[in-house]
């Protein structure tokens, strides 16, 4: 056996695999978007299996609350860029592959350029805006995308936009969920997530990539798998063979004005900025720095509390929910001055 293949001998031995499949992996270019709970295990197994070119896209830095499920990072990495730490670890794990980090935030301006050159995309993002953006960009570019999403004890996996034998494309994310109101779907920092679910779903995403690239097994095209880690029951739901949506252009990314912890502190000191806490009642009970308080899904019902002569700074634990709140306010009260505290309370405490 060729010396380079000894690392892969236990997968080359699989029925329907062989050295030809290993060469397909070696020549494949796979982009993992989001190096978080899903991206970490997916990237680990893609690197281990010998994907020739593995891109890791994430603009965020490692925070302490990531570590319970984002297994590529150590406490010593807190504050460093996830994409860079991940690429460094994965390169040690497999020096025989090429790793590429993408540290710019993915927006409608750059997404087509970032995914260009990759054969297949892994969606390990943590917000609806980037999910839709990636989905639409993959459809416009004619590339398959392996979707994964988790919340509390439940996860979803699917492969979108596969080319069928008749040349048409399999369903994509918009066939299932044409649009979502993100302010009404809690994310993991509110509702929590069990770390092993991230591992299971992330590994399932890597599994679909390997099947797609090596042309073994049946990928989850036209289907979605829904998994419950509490009962270990899963179901595969048939969506249909062909997409019924027509995606012709990207939605422009919303630009959310953010301010830093330092700017907030001087603005509070001279009373030019006004805080709005949009965390849950429970979070506020535990740690309260004052200001107005509405939970994210209550903001819409309290628009008359906002004064057009004031400047508001929305905050939550990470900056994710406060970003959604600012987006909502921009839509519902155009002209009101509102910022999101970038990095959330975490950034405030670091300074």
């Amino acid at each position: 056996m060729h010396p380079d293949l000894s690392r892969y001998s236990c997968q080359v031995a699989l029925p329907g695999f062989g050295e030809a499949a290993q060469r397909l992996l070696q020549h494949a270019k796979v982009l993992v978007v989001g190096a978080g709970g899903l991206g970490c295990p997916a990237a680990q197994y893609l690197a281990a299996s010998g994907i020739g070119t593995l891109g890791i896209a994430d603009f965020d830095t490692v925070s302490i609350s990531n570590l319970h499920r984002q297994v590529l990072y150590n406490p010593a990495d807190v504050g460093l860029l996830k994409a860079e730490v991940a690429c460094q670890r994965l390169q040690q794990q497999n020096p025989g592959i090429k790793l590429v980090s993408h540290i710019a935030k993915i927006t409608s301006d750059n997404v087509l350029q970032v995914i260009e050159g990759y054969d297949i995309i892994v969606d390990g993002t943590d917000n609806f805006e980037t999910r839709y953006l990636l989905n639409d960009a993959a459809v416009l570019s004619g590339k398959p995308i392996v979707y994964g999403a988790i919340y509390q004890y439940e996860g979803q996996v699917a492969v979108w936009n596969i080319k069928n034998d008749d040349g048409k494309r399999s369903p994509n994310y918009r066939d299932l969920f044409p649009q979502v109101d993100a302010t009404h779907v809690p994310n993991c920092s509110v509702g929590g997530v069990i770390p092993t679910l991230a591992g299971i779903i992330g590994c399932m995403q890597a599994n679909e990539v390997i099947k797609y690239v090596t042309r073994t097994g049946e990928v989850l095209a036209g289907k979605i798998l829904v998994f419950d880690a509490q009962t270990m029951q899963s179901r595969v739901i048939n969506i249909g063979k062909t997409t019924k949506t027509s995606i012709t252009q990207l939605q422009l990314s919303t630009d959310i004005p953010t301010i830093t912890a330092a700017e907030l502190q001087s603005g509070l000191a001279n009373s030019t900025l006004h805080l709005v806490d949009i965390r849950t009642d429970q979070e506020r009970d535990e740690y309260n720095i004052g200001g107005l308080h509405f939970e994210l899904d209550e903001v819409e019902d309290n628009l008359d509390e906002f004064d057009f002569n004031k400047t508001y700074v929305f905050y939550c634990s990470s900056g994710k929910r406060s970003g959604e709140a600012v987006k909502l306010l921009q839509q519902k009260l155009p002209g009101v001055k509102a910022y999101s505290l970038g990095g959330g309370l975490g950034s405030l405490n670091r300074d």
């Binding site: 989001g34 978080g36 709970g37 899903l38 991206g39 969606d123 390990g124 993002t125 943590d126 917000n127 609806f128 999910r131 994964g148 999403a149 988790i150 919340y151 509390q152 439940e154 996860g155 979803q156 299932l176 969920f177 044409p178 649009q179 979502v180 109101d181 993100a182 009404h184 779907v185 809690p186 994310n187 993991c188 997530v193 979605i224 829904v226 419950d228 179901r235 595969v236 739901i237 048939n238 969506i239 249909g240 899904d297």
Partner: protein, 81 residues
């Protein structure tokens, strides 16, 4: 007729449990009828903007007919990663 509906994700919180029953009047109800009935009872479901209805593990279009024998699941979008 009475339909048993299985909830996933945030729908479990909205319904207050994993299983609820919905009374749909006659025996020729469609997925659309079920959605109208659910959204009337649980306004927060409508606020999600979209969610999937699966009948017997098949994606159910609005016009599809539902019978008492069917297994109906409500699967909302999930954002975490």
């Amino acid at each position: 007729m009475e339909i048993t509906v299985l909830a996933f994700g945030i729908a479990k919180d909205i319904f207050g449990g994993q299983l609820i029953t919905v009374e749909l009047g006659d025996s020729t109800a469609t997925t659309a009828d079920l959605k109208v009935s659910l959204e009337a009872r649980y306004p927060k479901l409508k606020q999600l903007a979209s969610y999937m209805v699966a009948v017997n593990n098949e994606y159910a279009e609005d016009g599809g007919v539902i019978t008492e024998l069917d297994e109906v699941a409500i699967i909302p979008p999930v954002s975490g990663g």
